[in-house]
Symmetry: C2
Amino acid sequence: MFVTLAGGVGAARFLAGLTAVVPPEAVAAIVNTGDDLELYGLAISPDLDTVLYTLSGRVDPERGWGLAGDTTHVLEALAALGEQPFFRLGDRDLATHLFRTARLRSGQTLTEVTALLAGRLGVRSQVLPMANEPVRTRVITPEGELAFQEYFVARGHRDDVLALRFVGAEAARPPPEALAALAAARAIIIAPSNPFVSIGAILAVPGYREAIATARVPRVAISPIVGGQALKGPADRMLRTLGHEPSALGVARLYRSLVDCFVLDTLDAELASAVAALGMQPLVTNTIMRGPAERAALARVVVEAVQ
Amino acid sequence: MFVTLAGGVGAARFLAGLTAVVPPEAVAAIVNTGDDLELYGLAISPDLDTVLYTLSGRVDPERGWGLAGDTTHVLEALAALGEQPFFRLGDRDLATHLFRTARLRSGQTLTEVTALLAGRLGVRSQVLPMANEPVRTRVITPEGELAFQEYFVARGHRDDVLALRFVGAEAARPPPEALAALAAARAIIIAPSNPFVSIGAILAVPGYREAIATARVPRVAISPIVGGQALKGPADRMLRTLGHEPSALGVARLYRSLVDCFVLDTLDAELASAVAALGMQPLVTNTIMRGPAERAALARVVVEAVQ
């Protein structure tokens, strides 16, 4: 089992590559749910959906999230009613939220609902929420504390992030299926996701850090920062405002005690010796995933490294 | 104020006629919410929506419910996920449910949400739910007890109705706005709706029967049965299985102590003397509303009768 800690778009693209080079059934993703939100009574899990839509080949390839070819009739009708929903709700995407919401309300766990949804979408990898309990990432900014999607979507992640809170994380636990996947892992991979709001949210749930730190299998992290810049999202600025070096090395330091190997982009080859000095094996390769070939190539390098 | 007790399609069509012959601001509708349901976490109020969509000119004219020209992308996507929702959810219609659900969850009453929705839709009449508290009509059939929409939509009202229960009605109360409307009424009208599951549900809420019985204004009911048949829905069969005469006279008997005047279709003119014998003034006119002209004509007869 290749167990991957995953955020949204970057992780989903890596997972698509991974399932192209190893059997999809041999892949498990433990996915951040700190970005989850309730909107109009609907339970929305953006990262889980991004992973499911990507692995089922349904994702909008340009954006990397949402469903390809989706319409927005509901959203337009909400706007006609004077609503201004900050979160994009595609019509077919809404069906996923309705599917999830109904089952959560009837008492199923998020793990169960996600497995059911994965099955209905034809996803053969195991897609797991980081916790069944709600965890909500809160972002402390100079403008005050914001709910994650308020920071990320409504305000376009323009605010400086001074600190993060993962409300509910202390009381949350990894689902048994996630611990089982980690126990059965032949490798643990940290996807190229935001180290704070994606991977950090997962690691804030008691149990993960210990399970990974004590795992006797190869553990690899892939830098989400290339040439000092996040390929997507605000990870580079977060590194800076949270007091870290805004580079792949800054990320490597965050994962220091957690992984054995750190994947750097070829553009960051000069950081390899500094990564090695942290006690992690540096692995330099192309990490920018423009299309399926590059995703698979990156995944192949990672798979070869752990074998 | 012309205060009308209303169910769904038939009542909405009558109200459309009424607002064509008197100023819309002079019309208040107290609408059945016993048919309300929760589906996929959404709060759905079919009769309120039918009235709002009709009075705002947005209703699908053929069906008499739902929005004209609505699409069903969400529903199709739910079906693609293996769901079989028995309730038709149009995309633009879903926006109404999301609008309502979000506000109910944030603590607004159904009366407040409905008033807001009416305002956003440009409806100038007062549209009121019969209660802010949830009331759920349950239908006892030879197959067992069914939730109303399970009986009505999922099973196509094919089961014999042996009895009805209005769960929550005892604890519910007319919203203050409904009592105020009744107190300010210059006439009270019972729309041509199902006397059991529409009007009966309203009257099951403690307070309405008394308010109407003691009102010192003209009170008129319009028969939903013409020539022994319901124009729409199962009212005729319900009359029979619930032990009443399946005719306009059977309905008149149900409203005996409640109204002063009973409107019969011209096809039922021969029942006029039997209605008069019940102590109600019979009013014979065309009650079949095929289009706007017929709706307005029926409303005009009713308005003239109460003046």
